[in-house]
């Protein structure tokens, strides 16, 4: 394995009652990378995560965390992992603080100061001594993140972490994961919220029926440039502009609108179209480029 990968999943297969749930999945997460796991419900995201954290046995293959195989030395491998699997189920009859103490006791070397530090980090200082049953879903989610971070893991695994968070909370989480990534902590995050993944992740694996069908890098700008975006031009003379551009560039996918026209363009082509319109003295009120989102790509791939 390469030194830079924190998590390596190698040809993992899982069968339940002779039905293949996970089929030969392989991927790796690099140090400081936010890796997204994207797929429709029942695709096998949670099953894969359950195998990584040892809740389910591996059918075939192996999972290596920081150089340690989970099937050979589970306890050592888990030292570098903090996780939330599906909902963060806490002991409701205990306070948030007692919950953290509980998990802190399971790993040597977590001080009281660290518990308070993590509490502060998730902004729950005021309510930490309340019973968890009085917490909102968002607060429970944050407490879940706190317990995952207690022992300063190098790999954070979050299954559907944005569930129950309000938009501000989601943004906070995203910023926080980015900050952790800058400190060298890797995150594996699963979601079916495509737009969220697009904003959060460096790479996204698209999983369908137990197989990874595509891995997309979201940071790689060259790939972005290749993509054709839908560009809407709002002009004073839609018909004239439409004809000029159609004649000059021979674009096939072009549509006339009431107050302008829309066409598929690569990024660097936009100024050229703009120039041609200006030359013909057409007034341009706005140019709107809507990037083909991960959502479109995802639906294309999975349907």
């Amino acid at each position: 394995m390469t030194q830079s990968s924190v998590l390596e999943v190698k040809n993992v297969t899982k069968k339940i009652n002779n039905k293949t749930i996970i089929d030969q999945i392989s991927f790796s997460v690099n140090r400081g990378e936010i890796y997204g796991f994207l797929g429709p419900n029942g695709a096998g995201k949670t099953t894969t995560i359950r195998m990584i954290v040892g809740l389910m046995s591996l059918g075939e293959g192996d999972i290596i965390i920081n150089g340690t195989s989970i099937s050979k030395n589970f306890e050592k491998a888990m030292h570098s992992v903090g996780a939330i699997v599906e909902n963060p189920e806490m002991y409701k009859f205990l306070s948030g603080y007692q919950n953290l103490v509980h998990y802190a006791r399971m790993i040597p070397g977590i001080s009281k100061a660290r518990i308070l530090e993590v509490t502060k980090l998730i902004g729950l200082e005021d309510r930490i001594h309340d019973k968890v049953k009085r917490y909102s879903l968002g607060m429970r989610q944050r407490l879940g993140i706190a317990q995952a971070l207690l022992h300063k893991p190098s790999l954070l695994i979050l299954d559907e972490p944005t569930n129950g968070l309000d938009p501000a909370g989601i943004r906070e989480l995203r910023d926080y994961l980015r900050q952790l990534a800058n400190e060298g902590i890797s995150t594996l995050v699963s979601s079916h919220l495509l737009s969220e993944m697009e904003l959060m992740c460096d790479r996204v694996a698209i999983i369908k029926e137990g197989k990874i069908i595509d891995v997309k890098s979201l940071k790689d700008s060259s790939e972005h440039r290749e993509l054709q975006n839908k560009v809407i031009f709002e002009v004073n003379q839609p018909k004239k502009g439409f004809d000029i551009i159609k004649e000059k560039f021979e674009y096939k996918e072009m549509k006339l609108l009431e107050n302008g026209f829309v066409l598929l363009l690569k990024r660097e082509e936009i100024p050229k179209v703009n120039q041609s319109l200006v030359k013909e003295e057409i007034l341009i009120y706005s140019i709107n480029s809507t990037s083909k989102s991960l959502e479109d790509q995802f639906l294309e791939l999975t349907n």
Partner: protein, 248 residues
């Protein structure tokens, strides 16, 4: 390991249920004392009567032992528990130890409160009958063995099922029918009846000139049978707990 037991204790003693059970135990003793107040009774005789309240402790032991694993599955917290750098064996054993500690706590509490309540209601006078501190303690000793086996059995049931309700009900049914089964088996003098766990749990049958449940039973035989069941229960619960895919 000590930390894990500490965790289990925290989860046990911060539940209201646990303290309701403790409160009821003391309350029942006080009610007992009121009923017996005007009889000629010594504090030791009261302590002796109170030692039969251990059947209530058996109920608590079943409730606690049969829910301590299953409840983690019911609430989903088992996921949070098993993703730590701790082996499943240690987690299961810490739960078992905390059940045994709880039962010991209840036994000692029952004994001490029976002394205190006995003194308050009946004074320090020694009775004319032949109950001594020794017989009371012997009673507790025999009961402890029964409780240990009952709890270990319920604990095994707890590790096998995901629902704490199902686990508690099942343990109860088996516990309460076991004495009937022993009775029926011994009525017909069914030879293999002596291998049945509950034919062996009450070691009092070998003392005080009692009759054994089945012919040909000896103390050594019963101890051997108890050890075999004890090991078997632990093996089954450990195997089930370690093997299980957690899908809650």
């Amino acid at each position: 390991m000590l930390n894990l037991v500490q965790n289990e204790n925290m989860k046990l003693y911060l539940r209201i249920r646990t303290w309701i059970m403790v409160g009821l135990l003391v309350l029942i003793q006080i009610i007992f004392a009121f009923f017996l107040e005007n009889t000629v009774f010594s504090w030791l005789a009261f302590a002796d009567v109170s030692s039969y309240l251990t059947s209530i402790i058996a109920i608590y032991a079943i409730v606690t032992a049969s829910s301590i694993v299953a409840s983690e599955f019911s609430s989903g917290t088992i996921k949070m528990l098993l993703i730590r750098p701790v082996s499943r064996t240690k987690i299961l054993m810490s739960k078992y130890i905390s059940v045994l500690l709880y039962i010991s706590f209840l036994l000692i509490l029952n004994l001490l409160t029976s002394f205190i309540i006995g003194f308050i209601f009946f004074g320090s006078a020694s009775a004319s009958n032949d109950i001594t501190l020794g017989t009371v303690l012997q009673n507790y000793g025999f009961t402890s063995i029964e409780l240990l086996m009952t709890a270990t059995f319920a604990f095994m049931i707890s590790s096998l099922f995901r629902s704490s309700v199902l686990s508690i009900i099942l343990s109860f049914i088996i516990h309460f029918f076991s004495s009937t089964v022993v009775l029926v088996l011994s009525q017909f003098n069914y030879t293999y009846g002596k291998f049945f766990l509950y034919s062996n749990t009450d070691l009092r049958q070998y003392f005080y000139g009692n009759q054994t449940n089945f012919e040909g039973m000896t103390l050594t035989f019963s101890i051997f049978i108890l050890i075999v069941y004890f090991v078997l229960f632990h093996f089954v619960s450990l195997y089930a707990f370690k093997k299980r895919d957690v899908v809650v």
